[in-house]
Amino acid sequence: MENVVGIDLGTTNTCVAIVEDGVPTVIPNKGGYKTTPSMVAISESSKRLVGHIAKRQAVTNAQNTVYAAKRLIGRRWESPAAHAVQQSCPYTVVEGPHGDVRIRLRDSVYSIPETSAFILQEMKLVAEQYLGGTVERAVITVPAYFNDNQRQATKDAGRIAGLDVIRIINEPTAAALAYGFGKDLERKVAVYDLGGGTFDISILDIGRGVFEVISTAGDTFLGGEDFDVRVMDALIQSFQEKTGVDVADDRMALQRIKDAAEKARCELSVAREALVDLPFLYTTPSSQTFHMQEPLSRDTLEELTRDLVERTINICDKTLRDAKIDKSDLDDVILVGGMTRMPLIQSRVAEFFGLEPCKGVHPDEVVALGASIQAAALVDEAIDVLLLDVTPHSLGIMIVGGYFHRLIEQNTTVPTEASHIFTTVRDNQTSVKILVLQGENDKATDNELLGEFILSGLRKAPKGEVEVEVTFSISADGLVSVAAKDLETGREQSITVTATSGLTEDELQKLVESSQHYMVEVRASEEFERQRQQAERLIADVRDLFPQVQGIMSGTSFGRDAISKAEGVLDRAEKGIKSQDARSLEEVVESLERTLNMFRGVVSKTGLV
């Protein structure tokens, strides 16, 4: 069976899983961890670092380390999110050529899908190493409340990473899938997913292997990162009050405080008190050194972040009311995401739903597991589950007056379709421009623009006489297509709306190629590294025997000849290692092996070994 993996590309952590013999399993990375930090950095030597290594060097290389890129993916430069990230992140955010957001790391500018692709590529490698075969297809999860541009950007990230993304699915849906897979459940559940960057709430009806999403809502810019900011701000303020020093401009100090803030938060999930201890946090130009020693209690943390928790609860409340779901109809609440380890969240959720949350799922792994299940269900018909997901945002077009006319309401199960008849607004109007929008705002421009197209060749007629029927359909894999039909002439035009990830097809193509190159390089350098290690081991062994062999053999001219040949081989080997050339190193390794064998033979014949 072909390997199709499921990847939870999180704001903070990324996790990859696969269904093996019908069992969904998380694939550990090279370090043995089941999740990999969603971090990418460019080292001083222009080396690309991903995951734990990137995280480890983040403090010292904060400016060139990307974290929480997911908060920017598929966003426009003018969006508030881009703005917020710009304010709070140590890396440099710049405007892309298509109004998108890009990141400058050292001398290069990277698009967000690209940085995400670095992570995905890493996960691909992790999976390939574990499975011992290539991994070419994947299901990737996104927050349920992501819009189509964000989804498309995620898909593009997969493509850049050399993955055929067979489906983008929603994180809470995936979690529910993992929760209910293999059990013959008949339940209505709520999935509360608060991760590092996003919040989602989804209500599902599970039964007969069908996972039907009834309603979903969320906030794509609400997560652990925001909790960190609250704690950081409090720490910085207190530090300033105590020392008079403002660290706001010191990127390294900020990065340390951020790490410490997160660490303290996690500690406070189990302890009531934590100490933020950052020695040598700041050194003034006059070489005066300040240390941070700041106690933090759970109560303080809860005070600082209570409103954020309430925001999630309000969203839950609204979505339940909108979908007309009675809380008492719910059989279970599933907590997903690292943030749900916070006691305040657990108690608020339990209080709100009147249910003790389900303890049976691993908050960091369920999403990836669910993605792998969906992957298996799509490619392997033996896996008998069906996901009925909904479109989280309303879809419509701009009508006269700049208003947004909804054609497909949010929380409509996909695939779906809807049509509407429009009339011309000007006399002799021969073409009509259709703007496809997504969102909940009545004002068209406040919504996300997915695409536009022009229906031309309309009959010339007084205004209001030509009728155009516009049909929107969303396919099971989320593709939006729009067909417009002149009802009088029957003339029909249709397009598939490709949401914009911020990258053009050309750019994408180039990125895919360079990523392939990078993979080749990575593979080559891995191979070289292996050879180098072997060569070094052999050189050491030969050198060990060298004095003995010299003693035994230097008496004969044949011996002297052999010794000088061996010296030549060692010389070449050292040059080969320096040259970074895998090919020549491979030859030298062979010569080294022969020399070592010969040396061993000489030594053992004379009985000295």
Binding site: R208, G209, E212, A377, L378, V379, A382, L386, L388, P415
Partner: protein, 484 residues
């Protein structure tokens, strides 16, 4: 005999109806006919008929060799095949419930309600009427014909499924929400939800991911949208109500028809039972009558034998002049045959004879005793003679004999003697000499005198004197009578 699918024949291309296709789909490996009947749920007759047809069409082949376990070398599409099978099983579960013609199509009308025919069915009772087909819980949509131009066997979708999908797509505008879900109208929200889930599995394109579906992708998406909308609509009680009511009415009609059929059957059965019972009673009565007849016969025979025996005895006794014994025998025979007048006459005559003889006998013995001077000892014999043969003589003698010992009896006897004498006179049979009569009157007179009836005694004395004038005895009597 075992059967197997003929791999050369594509079932989808055959002119089969759903039932036949269903039976065909039951053939996995090399089942026996019995096994197929077992899993078809259609009963042996129907199944066998269908198997005949399938064999004729070549869809099935006879396998003579014993079934071997199927070889594990299945094509790489095994999984797909299994998934297909699962899907089809689901579809077929719905088909298993009887085929119902599409709504709107002319329904073959059953016997109109209200004309349940209560037939007096002749015994033996008719074979039990098959249960009326239950109204299925699922709805069956007639697939489009197998030669529909839109069908494409090269797609990753079984042709039968294509036919069903096309049929539904063609009728999208007219199908009821329940029909989209393949469910019979019900208010059971759970069942509706389950039906929606099953419909999702049939229509949602994800269930066929990676297969080439051609234009069917669009068809399925449309049908999914419809199923979803139907599911949504059916959450509303006011949408369900009329449809459920319609079905309820149909169910009720069926129930009524069934009820009527049941009642008719029950009535026929009751009738037959009554008849059977009446007959049995008749037979029982006839048997009893026969028994009684035989018994009577037996008794009659015995009686006749007895009577004959008695009559024989009587005849014999008569022959020997033993009239007492003869009378006794006749009496016994008469007890058996009380109506037999002949016997009765004979009994009476022999009894009379016997009595006369006995009386004569007693009288003569009394006379001898009197002659010998034992008058007192003769008295009982004279009374006996009077009783046995109450002639005037016997009575008079007896009265005279007992007059001293028992004057009352004497008077009785005297009176009886007078009555007998009167009767004898009336009949004129007896011609007595006057002197004999005089004697008799004297005897009677003496008896009267003894009983104190001197008047009567005198009268007799006078009569006696008249018959035999100057008779001393008469004078003496007259004198005695006068004295008193």
């Amino acid at each position: 005999m075992r059967l197997a699918l003929n791999p050369q024949v594509r079932a989808e291309t055959l002119p089969l109806d759903p039932q036949e296709y269903f039976v065909l789909s039951r053939v996995e490996g090399q089942p026996s006919v019995g096994e197929i009947i077992g899993v078809s749920g259609l009963g042996p007759a129907v199944t066998e008929q269908i198997l005949e047809k399938l064999l004729e069409l070549g869809a099935l082949a006879r396998v003579e060799a014993p079934a071997r376990p199927s070889t594990p070398t299945r094509p790489p599409h095994e999984r797909r095949a299994r998934a297909d099978e699962r899907r089809r099983t689901r579809l077929r579960q719905q088909l298993a419930a009887q085929v119902r013609p599409p709504a709107g199509a002319a329904k073959p009308q059953r016997a109109p309600t209200g004309t349940a025919h209560a037939v007096a069915s002749p015994p033996p009772p008719p074979p039990p009427e098959p249960e009326p087909e239950p109204l299925p819980d699922t709805v069956f949509i007639e697939p489009v014909p197998g030669d529909d131009a839109r069908l494409d066997p090269s797609l990753g979708l079984a042709v039968y499924d294509q036919r069903v999908l096309l049929a539904m797509d063609d009728r999208r505008q007219t199908l009821s929400p329940y029909e989209f879900l393949g469910l019979a109208p019900t208010d059971d929200l759970k069942a509706i939800r389950a039906a929606f889930r099953d419909a999702s599995r049939r229509f949602h394109p994800d269930a066929y991911h990676g297969r080439s579906l051609g234009s069917f992708g669009g068809v399925m998406s449309r049908l999914f949208v419809d199923a979803k909308a139907a599911y949504g609509a059916l959450q509303r009680a006011d949408v369900r109500a009329p449809l459920v009511a319609e079905r309820e009415a149909e169910l009720e009609r069926r129930r009524q028809r069934q009820q009527q059929r049941r009642e008719a059957a029950a009535a026929a059965e009751a009738l037959a039972r009554n008849e059977r019972e009446a007959e049995a009673a008749q037979r029982r009565a006839a048997r009893a009558a026969q028994r009684a007849e035989r018994e009577r016969e037996r008794i009659n025979t015995a009686r006749r034998a007895k009577v004959a025996e008695y009559l024989q005895g009587a005849a014999a006794a008569e022959g020997m002049e033993n009239f007492a014994a003869a009378a006794n025998n006749y009496r016994l025979a008469l007890q058996i045959e009380p109506e037999d007048q002949d016997i009765r006459a004979r009994w009476e005559s022999t009894r009379a004879k016997a009595r006369r003889i006995r009386a004569k006998d007693a009288y003569s013995r009394a006379c001898s005793l009197i002659d010998l001077g034992h008058a007192s000892e003769a008295t009982p014999l004279l009374v006996e003679a009077a009783q046995a043969d109450p002639t005037t003589e016997h009575l008079a003698h007896a009265a005279d004999a007992v007059r001293d010992q028992d004057p009352v009896q004497a008077r009785e006897l005297a009176m009886a003697a007078l009555r007998a004498m009167g009767e004898e006179d009336k009949e004129g049979k007896v011609k007595r000499r006057p002197t004999v009569e005089a004697d008799l009157r004297l005897m009677i007179g003496r008896a009267f005198l003894a009983a104190g009836q001197s008047q009567s005694a005198r009268q007799q004395a006078v009569l006696a004197q008249r018959l035999r004038p100057s008779d001393p005895k008469a004078r003496a009597l007259l004198k005695s009578a006068k004295v008193t």
